[in-house]
Each structure stands twice: as structure tokens, then as C-alpha cells.
């Protein structure tokens, strides 16, 4: 069942796909960075995303901060949260098998959701509106929120900044060294814990930026709000090649486009949309397990 497709509809969809892709990219980077350093799928990342939305909510509604200050404060608070989660749940397991750390991340995720239910209550809240971002722009017959214009820009700046940090600065060099070879990096006098904390802080802060944009676009907050975005962005990171930052961005846009285009071209399949994301994930894993931009690694014996 293919409907009559007009050029406007197609362009509109492309615009939508770009904004969805930009959102996915911000969160996918967090997954990929942690994986790059610790070889850990950080299941708690989606709940850090959730917590950061509540940070924004309370900073604006209770502390009555103007939005620019609230956003910056929330980003910093989320960075701290990332460091705390790492120190509490992952650092004690540094010498443990990787599976133990993975299980710990599932445990932390479970804990944060239950914490959210008790402290924030299960009733949905509205993400505070910021008209400056949410007003609608019309270009020809294409309509979109101003936010959709900013999102790719914010994502691009963040990615370029992050790549600069990783490629040109000292801490970036330490991060690359740690991700290449943990033991050797340690021997070279790199403080592994600082590097890992920094990675978590950066990943969490980017998740917060993603969460702010997510909240502006889809203004709903509840303790389980992170699960679906988390899963999607995680898929995006794997598709692009987990551990590779450029890969996460490519995977995010690819996933965003695919999701939007499937529903556009074959609306009858829209209820299978999520299945396609997983089918794509599995296809990539089988055909190119390291993802689109990932490097193939040989097993160590």
C-alpha cells in the first residue's frame, strides 16, 4: 500500500528524519564513548537521560531559574550524576569480569527507575516549554519547529567539539590510550580512574543536551521515559559501530531516516516500525558485526 507521495511530503519527512537523527546521535555518543573505554554497554545511560529531564523540570519549576541557566545547571548536574554512578556502581567492579559490570549497569538502571517512581511519582509531567525553540517556522509549504533547525547545529557543534577534545587534548590522548590498551595505559602513568570519570561526565552531559532537545520536542517526563530512547540510541550506536563516535552519529541518522521513511512509504507497516529497527540491528551484526564504521578486532588468545 503505497500512498500518493508529494515532493512536499518527502521534504517534510527528510526534515523530520534529520531532527530525529540529531536527537539519537546525542544519546548514542554516550553509549559509544563508554563502550570505547570500558567495553561496557551502559544500560543505565537511558536512566541518566531520564534523570536529566527531571533536573531541568525542577530547576525551572521549583527554583524558577530562567531556561538558559537551568539548562546549563542541568547539564553540569547530569555530568556529576554520571561520575557518581560510575564511582558507585562500576568502579568497585574494575577487576571483575565484564559481565558483572554489565549486570551492575542493569541493576543501576532498575534502581534509578524505582527511585524516580518514589521521588518524582509515576504521574507524567510536562517538560517546561521554551517558546523560543518551540515556535513554528514555515518555509514554502514545509512546517517545522525552530528546534528542528537548531538540533542538527547543536549536534554538529557537540560532535566537532568532542572530536577535537579526543584528538587534540591531553585528556583525549589518555582516553584513546585507555581505549586501545587498558593495561599499557596504566603502565604509562595514565590515571585510569580520572579518564573513566571524564568519559562518563562527558557522555552524561551529552545525554543531558539530548534530553533537553528531546524534552522540547516531546514534552513528556516520567520515570520510564528513558527506556525507548535509550534502546533506540543504543541500536544506533551498534549500527554505526559501537566504540566509534563518528559511527554513532552515522548510525543515529541512518536509524532516524529509516524509521521515518518506512512509515512514510509503507504506512501499513507502521506498527512493525520497532521490529524494523531490530531487524536492521541484527542484519548489521551478522553482516558487519563491528558496525558500519567500526574496526574489526581479532580475538586475543
Amino acid at each position: 500500500m503505497i500512498q500518493n507521495l508529494t515532493t512536499e511530503m518527502f521534504i517534510q519527512s527528510v526534515a523530520n528524519a534529520i531532527s530525529v537523527g540529531s536527537l539519537y546521535a546525542m544519546v548514542a555518543i554516550g553509549y559509544t564513548m563508554v563502550y570505547g573505554i570500558l567495553r561496557l554497554i551502559n544500560f543505565a545511560h537511558s536512566d541518566i537521560f531520564m534523570m536529566s529531564m527531571y533536573f531541568v523540570f525542577y530547576l525551572i519549576t521549583i527554583f524558577a531559574l530562567p531556561w538558559p541557566i537551568a539548562f546549563i545547571a542541568a547539564v553540569l548536574a547530569t555530568g556529576v550524576l554520571g561520575i557518581v554512578v560510575e564511582a558507585a556502581a562500576y568502579r568497585p567492579l574494575r577487576e571483575a569480569p565484564r559481565i558483572s559490570v554489565l549486570i551492575s549497569s542493569i541493576g543501576v538502571s532498575y534502581l534509578m527507575e524505582n527511585f524516580g517512581v518514589v521521588v518524582f511519582s509515576g504521574i507524567q509531567k510536562q517538560f517546561p516549554p521554551v517558546p523560543a525553540f518551540q515556535s513554528v517556522v514555515v518555509i514554502g509549504s514545509i512546517y517545522f519547529q525552530k528546534l528542528s533547525l537548531y538540533m542538527p547545529v547543536v549536534t554538529a557543534i557537540s560532535v566537532v567539539g568532542l572530536l577535537y577534545l579526543i584528538d587534540k587534548t591531553k585528556i583525549g590522548m589518555a582516553m584513546r590510550a585507555t581505549s586501545k590498551d587498558y593495561e599499557t595505559a596504566k603502565l604509562m602513568g595514565i590515571n585510569i580512574n580520572t579518564v573513566i570519570s571524564t568519559t562518563f561526565a562527558i557522555g552524561s552531559m551529552l545525554a543531558c543536551v539530548g534530553a533537553i532537545m528531546w524534552g522540547l520536542k516531546y514534552p513528556k517526563i516520567e520515570p520510564y521515559v528513558g527506556i525507548m530512547p535509550g534502546l533506540k540510541c543504543f541500536i544506533a550506536a551498534v549500527i554505526g559501530g559501537i566504540g566509534n563516535i563518528k559511527g554513532a552519529v552515522v548510525g543515529a541518522y541512518l536509524l532516524g531516516f529509516m524509521e521515518i521513511m518506512i512509515v512514510l512509504f509503507i504506512p501499513a507497516l507502521s506498527s512493525y516500525k520497532d521490529a524494523f529497527a531490530f531487524i536492521m540491528l541484527i542484519a548489521i551484526l551478522l553482516l558487519r558485526p563491528a558496525g558500519i564504521l567500526g574496526e574489526k578486532k581479532a580475538d586475543k588468545v
Binding site: L111, G122, I235
Partner: protein
Amino acid sequence: MKDLSKNASRILTAVALAGFAVFLWLAYKGIALGPYEARIVRLSGIYAIAALSMNLINGFTGQFSLGQAGFMALGAYTTSLLVIPPEAKESLYWVEPINPFVRNLQAPFLVALIAGGLMASFFAFFIGFPVLRLKGDYLAIATLGFSEIIRIFITNLIPITNGPVGLKNIPSTANILWTSLSCAAIVVLLLRLMKTSYGRTFKAIRDDEVAAEAMGISLFKHKLMSFLLSAFIAGISGGLLASVVGAITPAYFRFTLAYEILLIVVLGGQGSITGSVVGAIILSVSKEWLRFLDSGFNLLFFRVPEIAGLRMLVFSLLLMAIILFYRRGLFGSREFSWNSIYRPIAFLINKIRKPKKEAGDDSA
């Protein structure tokens, strides 16, 4: 200090089993347990079976699979569709009419249960072929993905599964005898299996895949075998669950269900069969026992008001503590033995008898 002799252990085991059998009979007759307590025991048995299924593939074969929820869903739906009477089925399908073939399918509960397990294995066969080539995290993601795909298809194949509306009026055949004996049968099966060459091969793959392959073990064949058996057991647990709860919907079988089962396996110890059983019992009993936290309680001198969800918060904190500080779980990769109870007791008795000699040596 001497351990218990083999004979002493055997006698203790026999006494415990006989005691358990008597207890089960009394519970079945409604003497030992009320229906509410019996329900918790029934669910413990089912969780134990689900945990055993995950432990087989994760703990014993070392293949980190998170697809249990999907296999449980297949088992639950197959069993339910076979045991709900045709007229009852027809009245449930008000969204779209039921497929006539599915309507007329009928089987006794035991057959339905096994059919559920086989259905899960059947799908596991097709999933396993491509997926078991992957390792570690990648395998975990791929199996999780397949589990979600199964759920999405169940949600959308309305004439067969009744879609999001789900099924109800599932006969509650699975009483405490069914769940406990199924669990016991699977425990015995796995304990035996681990003593055979297959069991040892599974463990060899877990401990060192490369070395196992160098020894001439066919990795793929054994991984697939373990995966199929694991799916079969998960299917059985799904079928029993459907019968105990009486109503199922696809939404219940989200991937987060696999996390909960994983937490049981971790609690009991990965690679310990008895550990999974004990873990499942502790988990389901403590979840219920902590219910008082939700409804307000007296904490020493303070009255804590009712806070919805406090129970789950405390529960997840306790779980986190176990994950961090007892990460090998209650049993590690060992099985329960009477010596694990006897040794600390003997140690204490020894200490009391010769306090001076042993003083200062509390490092054990």
C-alpha cells in the same frame, strides 16, 4: 575439621527430599499453605525454571543471551491457545475473528506445555543459526532484539494471538504440584546433563572457547544445543506462567522481563543450578514480604507514611548491594552441598571448644 561423609550427605538429602515431598502434598491439599502463599510458591517455581533456562545458556555455556522474554512469550501463547476451550477463545477475539485453525486446536495441559517448549525451541533454531556466531555483548544485543521482534509480531498477528488485547480464561491447571514438580524435573535434568560429556563440553566452551575448539569441540553444534534446550525450558516456564496468572498480554513479555530473570541468576550464582532455585525463591518471597513498605509502617519511633513504590526502591537497593559486594552470588558456580552448611557450624563449634587457640584467626 572433617567434612561430612558421603553417606551422611546422602541421608540428609533423602530426608530433605522426603520432607519437601510431604510439605508439597500438604500444600497441595491446602493444609500447609494458604492460597496466597501457595501462589507465591508457584511463581517461585516458575521464576526458578526461567532462571535455570537463562543459567544454562549464560552461566554454563558462557553465551550471554537476553532473549528469554521472547521464548517465554512463545511458550505462554502456545500453551494458552492449546488449553483454552474453543468457545471461550472465540468470545475473546472481538477485535478480529479468530483464525479457525487456531480456534479448534486443543490439547491436554502436559502436551500443551511441551508444545510451548518445542515452539520456543523451533524459533530458537532459526534464531540460533545466525546469532550464535556472535560473542559476548553482541550476542546479548542480538538475542534481545529477536525477543522484541517476537513480541512485536505477537502484538500484530491479531487473528492468531488476539493482539494487544491478550488472552484470558486460561485454565489454572498449574497448581503447586505442577510448578514444583516441573521445576524439580528440570533441576534433575540439568544436574544430570552437567555430569555428561555434553555438560562438560558446555563448561569447556564457557571457560575458554579457543582452547575448546582446539580440542576438537564443535563450538557451533554445542552452543546451538544449549540454546535450544534453554529456549525449551523458557517456553515451559512461559506456559506455566500463563496458567498461573490466567491472563497474558504481549506487553508483559518486554525485554525488561529478561533483566529480572538475569537478576535471579546473578543472585543465585551464575553456573549454579541450586543457586537459581534458591535465588528465585528469595526474590519472589522478599518482593512480597517488602510490601509493608508501601503501605506505611513504624520505623522504630517514627510513623513512615505510605509511599507507593518504596518497596521496589528498597528491593533494588538490596539487589545492587548483592551485585556489588557478592557478585558471585549466593552459590558462586557451585551447587548446594550440606557441607556448605556443616562447615560454618563445625567451625563455630570448634571455636567455642578451643577459644584460645583459634583466637585472632578470624580471617576465614
